[in-house]
Symmetry: C3
Subunit: 263 residues, 3 copies
């Protein structure tokens, strides 16, 4: 039996002790687990960014991996906590839509509410379900507890569509920035498969106070301080500046709106 694998994605940062405490709870229940940090640098409360990071990553993990996603602005409210099974992997997190992209990418997600409190820490705080609910649930699951022992299946889980551009008129789509990478590139939600014809047809993308009309094949083709568009490694339209920081230049970040007009 290989050691069970658990990934963590949160907006906790790494300067505080929160992530370490979650790992303490996990190892206390499932000492043989391997834990991988996907990212703890999600902008506080930015569900779209966490969804992006997990959806870009999970298929590179082996079957049976448990992904814990804690970006949870509604902690302490009545929002439900979930365990989802998707293509032989598991996802644990709040029912706020953060798993929407994953639900849609599989044939039949099996989503359960976490109602069996015997899998939680004995005292559950109002503010730190990462420690009190999600970490212990992930650890029990990794240790072999049956998924159906955690709670009943539901089908009214929150399913967001923020990762999909909205068509607002015949030639205009509104989109959003899903992620800003280390280099300040703004990764939007316009996928290459739907918008590959941009170059041929001519277009204008508005973001912040700028209008961009240039699409290049790779970062090196950009020039000067001029922001440009490129289809990046995530197969999404990115806004970049050659050897510069597009996010800072444009004053935009995760969640910033943008609008794409195609001629």
């Amino acid at each position: 039996m290989p050691p069970p694998l658990i990934t963590l994605t949160t907006d906790f940062g790494i300067q505080d002790h929160f992530v370490g405490v979650m790992k303490g709870v996990i190892y206390g229940i499932c000492p043989e687990a391997q834990i991988v940090d996907l990212s703890h640098s999600v902008e506080p409360f930015h569900i779209v960014q966490a969804a992006f990071l997990v959806s870009q990553s999970w298929r590179y993990f082996p079957p049976g991996t448990v992904h814990v996603v804690v970006v949870d602005p509604g902690v302490g409210s009545s929002r439900r906590a979930l365990l989802a099974g998707c293509d032989n992997q598991f996802f644990v997190g709040p029912d706020n839509g953060v798993l929407s992209t994953i639900y849609r990418s599989v044939r039949e997600p099996i989503v359960r509410t976490l109602t069996n409190t015997s899998y939680f820490l004995q005292t559950v705080s109002a503010t730190f379900h990462g420690r009190d609910v999600f970490a212990p649930v992930a650890a029990h699951l990794a240790k072999g507890a049956a998924p159906d022992s955690f709670g009943d299946t539901i089908d009214d889980y929150v399913l967001g569509y923020w990762d999909q551009p909205q068509r607002i008129s015949r030639r205009v789509w509104s989109g959003t920035v899903l992620h800003v990478d280390r280099f300040g590139n703004l990764i939007t939600n316009f996928p290459v498969e739907e918008f590959a014809s941009l170059q041929l047809r001519g277009f204008e993308l508005s973001i912040g106070t700028r209008r961009l009309e240039r699409l290049v094949n790779n970062y090196a083709e950009g020039s000067g301080d001029e922001p440009f568009l490129v289809f990046g490694s995530s197969n999404l339209l990115e806004i970049a500046v050659n050897q510069g920081n597009a996010g800072k230049l444009l004053g935009c970040g995760v969640g910033s709106p943008c609008e794409l007009q195609i001629y």
Copy 2:
């Protein structure tokens, strides 16, 4: 036998190779260890902050965990190195008071000086005891070496009281900032159990150039740019700004003094 667990808390940051080297030393001695980073973002030399982070975390780890705490301004001097046993967990670090909060929270800490140099790396530098002393000692302990083989017990270890407010007159206590969290909230050393009556009696907290008179129940109750007080998840009085960064606004950080007057 579950894999032994070792946590690391340092002021080394993560851009340098220091933390990785400590892990190399640990795995060379105890290959089956699991290592958890509690935090490496302790402000350089800020013993109070490391003490805070470890004291908030250790009880969430299973029995037998070895906690390595390396915030060590006196490295290379004659300050002693310690191994402390507290409630079935172990703590390894310099004798500079960084473990004070833990000593006081248990019935009978067993504190030893690390004098058995056969557990150290063969060459001990004057500057990097994290690598040369504390990592190998933690690894040998995790591997099963008996605590009493590391050195004799002592009872004159350094015991600081910085984590406790000092009463400086009948109605006035002086305190300090133990930690600044990711959001810039300043966590002071005023515990809720002793100062719960603040609201009822009226008070004034001075920090930097400001005097604060407002205590709220949760962050959302704050308004505008006005800093306010709240009892946070660590059960300590925090200074916060609603959706802002209190540390930057007040120009205060770890170790900043504050004064609380209760009417």
Copy 3:
């Protein structure tokens, strides 16, 4: 059999999902591996800095460790990918000289090109060989695949000399900044063993717009805002400011040139 050990050194940062994805690939192939992050804060594309970090660290790891070094400005071009065996440890990375310091520090490095694509992920992208080539190769090696099954040995691998000062006239050497540590100290490539006589003979080091003439024994001897020189724990000449940030003060960073004149 102890669990196999793999270290990672990259310029990916930790806010994106790239490092987590590499770990997913590794665990999918070699579930029992232990993975250590050496650093992911290498300045983008700065080969000299990655070389410095790995060369300072690898000898503290046990025999058999696999070190993955992905700083790879030539990814997607025809640059080769390598597996090097040095003193019973292994190094996996691009053939861009990033392993030069290690090659030179051992008697007989055995360097192979990674030509056996059956050890790669099935689809190899043009942009992310960390995930598609280096992670799976390291995992297969850790799992026990024979080094000679990965490809043939070569002896025309890239061997850089940036880590060695160049003598440009009888009394003048040109050097470079290999690393900036957490405190902003600039670590140059002037080694103590060759330049120990500096103090005795008198010298001048030019960097940015400054000329430095003061060498001290430890950081505390520095005074005011004046940058000074010190032989640091890496046995290299460092430029530091007492309780200040030399990198910011001088406007210099990794790769900045400097010139040392000895009288």
